[in-house]
Amino acid sequence: MTQYHYQDQSAQPAQPPPAYQQQGPQQLAGQFAQRFQMLAATIEQVIRGKREAVELALICLFAEGHLLVEDVPGTGKTTLARSIAAAVDAEWRRVQFTPDLLPSDITGVSIFNQAHQKFEFHEGPVFANIVLADEINRASPKTQSALLEVMEERRVTVDAEPHPVPRPFLVVATQNPVDMDGTYPLPEAQLDRFLMKISVGYPGHAAEVEVLKGVPTGLQLDRLQAVARASDVAGMIDFATRVHVADPVYDYIVALCGATRTSPHLRLGASPRGSLALLRAARVKAAAAGRHYVVPEDVKALAVPVIAHRLILTPEAELRDVTAAAVLGEILAGTPVPQAA
């Protein structure tokens, strides 16, 4: 039987589950969902009208993944990262990636201390709970790979000495789809390290009006109230990893990813890392919906942000302006949802 450790004392009591449901895990899932929604609502006070993007970013946080945001300037990419940090009372750093940025500028360096007659490690900006890697594609591949190594290993090794990064640890990388001159696009192997790739997009008309109205008197990012501590987030992460997944859902995930590997429109399908990422994200989404079990809806809803950036189209498909999301949509529409346990 799965053990559930997560307890959130500060959260409001969740609604009692229906009589046919198991009480303990369901109540914990309810508390998770309440805290998740509270975080999302707090962040949305700053990022107006982008609830979906906010929730996806939070799913990344609780799934211990990393987020790649691709969008034009001025759509709130940086604000999203800062507001997440502010809402969870976590330490955050920003690194502006430029062509001359060195790996040690991110990870930190060992400097010889004359007084103590030994090398001391000076942590780089990557030692924070939330790291905003702005315009990641402007740095050299060497620097990019240094960050990506930290993302995967969750530690920095300098002079054979490991230095773990704090928990939770979320990298929000941004890249600009226009003005690509002088950039180093991330190769597919490195794109695969990001749990999700999302686009914030322009706000709707009403949301943008709200943004304008809120500028002089609205809630400033610096004054955003933290609604969770970093330790609470770590507990929620632990709870999410214990969300139950039934065998048919495993089969469904494998069927979806398997279909991407045989699609005639795709040169490269989703890797097993993609399947794992989809599973982790689906667990968080289930908990965020107040469930202690994953349903196919969770998988289906996250398939495009989690899988699409890992796919490579065939040249023929690209010529026909077919997108990876469209191919994935076709696969989702053609893969039967498990009907029996």
């Binding site: 799965t2 046919y20 045989t262 079990y293 053609g334 039967p336 009907q339």
Partner: protein, 690 residues
Amino acid sequence: MTARRPPEGGPWWRRVAEAAVAAALAGAAGWGFHRVFPGGALLPVIVPAAVAPAAVAVLARRGPLWLALALDVALWCAGTLPLYGGLAPGAPADLVDAWQALLTTLLPAQPEPRLLILVHTLVWAAALTGAETLARTRTRLAAVLPALAVYVLALLLGVNGEGSNLPVAAALLVLAAVLALLRDGRSPVWLLAGTPAAAALAALALVAGPLLPVAARPYDPRQDADLPPPARVDSVSPLDRVSAWLQIPGRELFTVRADRPLNWRLAVLDRYDGVRWTSGARFQPTGGRVPADEWTGRAREVRQTVTVEGLPGAWLPAAERPALVEGVAGLTADPDSGALLAAAAPGRGARYEVTSRVPEPSKEELLAARPAGGDPALTAFPPGPQEELFRRLAQEAARGADAPIRQAYRLQNHLRTSARYDVTAPPGHSLKSLEFFLRTTRRGTSEQFASAFALMARTLGLPSRVVVGFRPGEPSGGVYHVRSGHVMAWAEIRFEGLGWRPFYPTPGRSGAKDDHEVVSSAIEESERLEGEFAKGGTGGDQERPRDRPVGGEEAAEGPSPWLLGGAAAGLLLAGYAAAALALPWWRRRSRRAAASPGARVLGAWLQACDDLGLRDGHALTAAEVVARHPGDISTHLQPLAEISNYVRYAPDGGTEEAAGQAWRHSDAVRRAVRASTPLPARLRRRLLLR
């Protein structure tokens, strides 16, 4: 109709199985040509043509279509090598001509490469399109269509052939069902369960198929094909040879090994222009089978082995109506008369075997015979002053006889008694010669007797022709030695339902016992029938035929094919309607009565999906199903979806309470669907069994 899974989904064995089914479909459809060609020759052509494109489709499925097509074309060319025994640049031209050649060939056709190329190409094309359709599309049953088209072509081309195509149809049905199951993406358990069901359906079709009205009188494309023109097959008419052969009677022409003596027919002459009798036969190539004539009643089969000795010409002697001829290369036959002709004159020592059907009509059938209508050339009398003489003589001879066969018997008897057989009589069968024979000499050979009889019968409206053949010959050790002196001509009259009946107007040689057993027995039979007429018991009027069926038409008695077909269709419809009503009820009941509460909850959800018209195995999640059905339905669908999701995906199973709630919601969904769906739509959904 599309399958639920993506184009290249599924395990490798399923793709291989699908390609194998495509090959089997094409092969089975190609086997439909077993009524056109002998099976032994067909198999080596069908198997590679069916298997090769299917293998290409599996191996090249990831490559572009043009590559697969190029490989298939190369394989088609390679397939012609063993067929022709080497390079065949004329294969495409043969392919174009094969249709017409097959339509003008009596079945079974000779298994020649120029004809088999058609089967090779059709099977290859069916396997190619079927396998590529399966490999590159999501369609479920479209791959069956090419094989079906080939099967229909085989049916049309082999409609006169021997054997039945129902087993082939059953095989196609089973394969189509297996393909549907495979493409449905279900587990092998379904395949194991579905294949016997498909086989049962095929068995039902096998039983019901012959009851369909169309099966009784199938369309024959040969009716509309351009047949070859009547051929002048010999420079010298066989009838002209009669007198010459009689002058040198000891020349051995051929021998026949048979279990009983019969007259051996050589040539059939049914056109008369006032000077000579000729044949209007349209000879068609045949693999050995000769179609039966219109007589379908009792008949005895006689097998003969003929060895040619000194017989000139290309005509081949055989007894009565040949049904099967073996051992003759380039054989052609006239489907109307049954006369046989070799492509080249058979040399001395040539041997062939013939199986003939000797009709044995009953006395009643003979008495009821009526002259057949149809071809006016069979009753035509050439213009000239002789017609009046022939008519007068015929009427005098047949005076008092109304029944057609009795008229023929009277005519036969008249000639046998009023003239003498004389081998020294001058030859010739022109109108002038026959007038001289009838008026003056009253002496002649069978040439004159048969010709005169046929022409006099025509003046009475009886369709007639002259047959040149031989008496049985001298028996010696089970073999009949037929010499030139055994030549004989006789006449035949065509009766409705009976076909052509022989009449022997030539009297026996004076002073010598007639050793012609066949003629003797025919004459005795005619005298016996005349006696029957004289008794008056059976009467002689022409009304009789209307009172009773003639010959083989007795077989047509019994329930009408339309009635049987209608009854079968009604039975099938009733069965379908019963299944449409019972199956949903049974499914709902079994879901509700499932053993575990969890299974009952799942059953409630599946039942709701069924009621909403969602296909089994759809790609919609429970939330999407709810989102698609707003309003009253979603009020109950939403909680049902939640319970169903919980039971299916949560670690703890369903409870009795959950099952009860689920079915209450499912019933409410059902009621809401019924209330919001018009009756015709509900009926349509009910009748479309899933």
